[in-house]
Symmetry: D2
Subunit: 384 residues, 4 copies
Amino acid sequence: MTRTGLWLIGARGSVATTAISGLLALRAGLAPPTGCVTFRPEFADVALPGWEDFVVGGHDVVSTPLAKTAEHLAQAGVLPPHLLGLIASGLCEIDAEIRDGYHPVTHQGDQAEAARRIAADITAFRDRHNLARVVVVNVASTEPPAPFDPSHGELTALEAVLTEPGRAVLPPSSLAAYAALRAGCPFVDFTPSTGIALPALDQLARELGLPYAGRDGKTGETLLRTVLAPMFTARALRVRSWAGTNLLGGGDGATLRDPQHAESKLESKARGLAALLDHDVVAPLHIDNVPDLGEQKTAWDHVSFEGFLGARMTLQFTWTGLDSSLAAPLVLDLARLVAAAHADGQAGPLGSLAVFFKDPLGSDEHRFAEQTRELYRWAGELRG
Amino acid sequence: MTRTGLWLIGARGSVATTAISGLLALRAGLAPPTGCVTFRPEFADVALPGWEDFVVGGHDVVSTPLAKTAEHLAQAGVLPPHLLGLIASGLCEIDAEIRDGYHPVTHQGDQAEAARRIAADITAFRDRHNLARVVVVNVASTEPPAPFDPSHGELTALEAVLTEPGRAVLPPSSLAAYAALRAGCPFVDFTPSTGIALPALDQLARELGLPYAGRDGKTGETLLRTVLAPMFTARALRVRSWAGTNLLGGGDGATLRDPQHAESKLESKARGLAALLDHDVVAPLHIDNVPDLGEQKTAWDHVSFEGFLGARMTLQFTWTGLDSSLAAPLVLDLARLVAAAHADGQAGPLGSLAVFFKDPLGSDEHRFAEQTRELYRWAGELRG
Amino acid sequence: MTRTGLWLIGARGSVATTAISGLLALRAGLAPPTGCVTFRPEFADVALPGWEDFVVGGHDVVSTPLAKTAEHLAQAGVLPPHLLGLIASGLCEIDAEIRDGYHPVTHQGDQAEAARRIAADITAFRDRHNLARVVVVNVASTEPPAPFDPSHGELTALEAVLTEPGRAVLPPSSLAAYAALRAGCPFVDFTPSTGIALPALDQLARELGLPYAGRDGKTGETLLRTVLAPMFTARALRVRSWAGTNLLGGGDGATLRDPQHAESKLESKARGLAALLDHDVVAPLHIDNVPDLGEQKTAWDHVSFEGFLGARMTLQFTWTGLDSSLAAPLVLDLARLVAAAHADGQAGPLGSLAVFFKDPLGSDEHRFAEQTRELYRWAGELRG
Amino acid sequence: MTRTGLWLIGARGSVATTAISGLLALRAGLAPPTGCVTFRPEFADVALPGWEDFVVGGHDVVSTPLAKTAEHLAQAGVLPPHLLGLIASGLCEIDAEIRDGYHPVTHQGDQAEAARRIAADITAFRDRHNLARVVVVNVASTEPPAPFDPSHGELTALEAVLTEPGRAVLPPSSLAAYAALRAGCPFVDFTPSTGIALPALDQLARELGLPYAGRDGKTGETLLRTVLAPMFTARALRVRSWAGTNLLGGGDGATLRDPQHAESKLESKARGLAALLDHDVVAPLHIDNVPDLGEQKTAWDHVSFEGFLGARMTLQFTWTGLDSSLAAPLVLDLARLVAAAHADGQAGPLGSLAVFFKDPLGSDEHRFAEQTRELYRWAGELRG
């Protein structure tokens, strides 16, 4: 396939650094593509960009070199320590492709101007590397839920407000999505932040004929819930309550300590569970910041259910995952798939990619097995 | 639908008593059909026998009245205590339809004779109640794996050996299957015992145009494994080991304490896991008899897996189920579905019912979601 | 021993009803004293009241008959169903000894008057049954933390405020403690409510020569924490974080849903953990109301700790307890022990009973094993 | 204190290498003494050898350099990777002090001769380094249970048999203990192997005035059991069953895969549990070899217990430990404590050190808290 750009919003974070390190390792044949869905046999003949086709750049508001973050990730068990030396020069090269991100507090001027600057960074990257296309993926820290504004509902209204000095009508994730579209790029929302999920931005994507996908990568507790809940439904067992606790350290843990940030993540999770079971259940859910766990995320779920003649039973699970390790290969998968959708001329939300997300855009399907089947079907069409 | 018989091998055991009590409760409108798959919307217009269409009988080698077992099950949390009084007369009536089961030690005469007697009991039941058909379901205690005999491979050879005095070439479960077929009845193997899973019996079922289904009801740990393992596969995560421990009391616990009995159950479980993952995994598995747990079965599984760049992660679950509560509604579902298959003229193994079994006959599919989809497809054909 | 009264504040609640039902069962020889610490060999020759010595009464703001609550507790697995018939008349008799409790909203008049009425109920009970003493035990629902008032610090000031019309300077639990002392009775705080834990009430108890004990019965997660935390300390392992989630239904679950109520319970738990480990740890803790769990309380704790050369390890536990079943025998133990302390002439907080409480009054010791040893030592002195 | 030798049987294994690496790190001030019990305040003024007082040597049947094992342990999370370079020369020096171990298959000549050779190695080490004493600690792989021989019961008989050519009446662990004593050294059994636990060897230790301690370091599941079981007893709760599963990789996992080896470990565990509870319980226990877990050991325990009026409750725990990280600091503690006991002139089994062992020699006490208290008392006497 032709050369493809991967532009990461939050390019210096844990997920981005893991994805970048992995891309370098995979390209050099230093690791198998474990965790990369698009290397399953179902994608065998689908025209997807290969590892060697990718060029990586991005935005970030911090300036820590990738090599330093990679070192931290090696200590945390996310990257194998011996890899660091082998990818050091590759990380350096990509460091040079990362531009200053948009920050609502430090930014001077109106948001239209900020969007133009972001879009220009991406366009310059595409031109500089002579890329057929650039897929923009948001992997920045989770934002608090954005306050509603009427201009979010319609593009003309939105663009009018963007030029008002001193107003920040769009949260950073949505500004990034707007800029990406204006630069002619498909967009992926890998976080629960608002991002592209506004009617005005959907309108813009359709008008420009650009595909997008989102939102909130399904990498842990929710992954299990969308696998397990359909079992209860298919077996006609009545779930009475589904309680969950998430312990997480790392950047995400600290961000979500702020109750407002956590809210957007919790809301997204609750929507999924409600959609999976035929009825409402008591479903208390907590996210706790436990810094000593580092990159590790531990989730405990307790499901109480009722069977034949009212018999009471329970299921508990404990998931101990490394979030960046689970997210990074999906980011690479999404870059490949969304690039292919763009090459194929698809536009609007890619509901067929629902399996990647907690809160899928363009799809009401939350059941993992059904989502997987739809992904394979869609890939088959691309192939054919 | 026309009147249908349900003939239970092991009619006085926990699973049978729960199924019978539930049938009486459902028929009287005393409980919702929780746990009954065939009451899902996907079966809305399928011609299945209703609760009022069923007449129940069976064989057993013990003579404890159903009401006494029901009392024990109420103490164990399987049956609601208030139900006992309401179904007492119904249980009494069914008691009268239970005949002495075949026991290899006490039986005098050759096995052909035993089979004729068993078949005659079933035929008389069908005639006495003027039933359109009788579905025979084996829910008796798990047998040890049956020693191989060349006659198992071909019907004529088998029937010759059956007439040899003093030989017991078939284990009781297979003798029951043989007799059921000879009585013109479809057969369901709900246990891991050999039952109908012999080439000679498959041959007989096909010759007589009778459908059958089996084997080993999927009600606990294996249910979860066939739900969870496909998730790892679909996400390209590499399972490194999958260890399991099962604690069970009740009759099953005592039976499986005998290592020979346990073997057949463990083999069946291992086959399933190997089929679900693309590669071999270390998968130690234990069944422990813990009498104080009564009807409760507790399973702990520990899954160690590898993700992107070799990152190490784990999943643990603890399942606390009441085995009879999980099995009984499936027994009723199978009676309904196999009756419909028989009415439809289907013969041989019903691979479309694989979702009900740990070790499905007539199917290589172990993934729960795919099995569920196949069941719905098959039901749709029946409807159509 | 001479006849002893047990006066329960919250006499119609789950804990009280279980304690009362158990007392009747034990007295009739219908059950062994499982869960009663004072039947351990260490108490063999200590002069404690026997089951036959006790007469029970109490206060409550609700009027549900004990038999009805007992029925509910039987359904929930707390009481054996066959017991209900055998203790029905005993429950009726005790019903007749339960008086209307104090409720700050419906009470007319000042709190001094309310206290006089409560004390009079207790005194009348003592006289009516010719009791040597009455132990008053608070097992009412948990209150929100009481706002501080300067009068709490000194008895004369407090008694002055109590006579002010329209002021409710004491929360109900503290009013009960005050009234109990004024009636000449020892007092036990089995809940985390303020109760007797005010300097003015401590002063009163000492002046009147009355012993008291509290507070917050140690029956679940905290019990385990005070058993496990000393292990980490003794082994010089460094606990990094200790996260906990509690799922509970029943009355307590509903009460604690109110964040203000929960706060007092969480504070009490946090104090204990901090006291057990030599250093501060991250210790997020949640209480969730999950009504379908009924009387059952499920706690999950995740402990992350560091060993030799910084090695990272974890301990998780899941405790599934019936809170009333765990609390009730301790209430009976406390009635016996505090009666003995009163007979022995002890006054003030009984720190030697710390093992019974999450937040022990009169003791800084939180380690379960050390508390147990102190209890035995104290009992030995009583014996001697 | 004067210079002290630590002589490790199995000096190149995981536990020994971790202990050695740790000793080097602690001596250099590179790590705090986390996990070392003897750095608790209770030992503040006890005359124990310091890290700088120790010289290390040992026996092993393999010849892998310590640095290579240390590298493997760093990958497994037991040693911090950055430590390897800092202790490399120290490991090399100790490599030079490790002699070929006794192996029953390759050894030529009678066992008396073998013992003389082993003792001579230790004596030479003591002389070479001018040591006040050498503590010999067995940390070699677990042996299968040794077959009983009448000569084990009495020293003269044993020594006669030792000289018979071609007979191996002592398993290697016991031969090591015999040789250590004959070299005038105190001995510690850190494994479940027979070691010094033979009457003839006890006799020898007493005759020579040498102290010894054992056996089987208490580092995981059993540690928790001896902490938790006393809680149930103290609360008069009746444990009904206590099931356990251990998953382990590493050398130990492979050794214990052999059912005969496992037997000795399981027997030692069962003895402990029986001693802790007042009555017999159903207690199935498994050890599974799961190589991918590496040095990690995961134990799941399920405790079913009965409370007041027969209420049924459960406790589950999952322990995820690094066995070498837990064992190594205790090996160093034991070297310090047993050296002090020797200096103090104590002889025979040191029952006061029971807290370190699953199957304590010289003590019937299994309760962790009571064992801890006894250790502190004994240390106080040494101090005094």
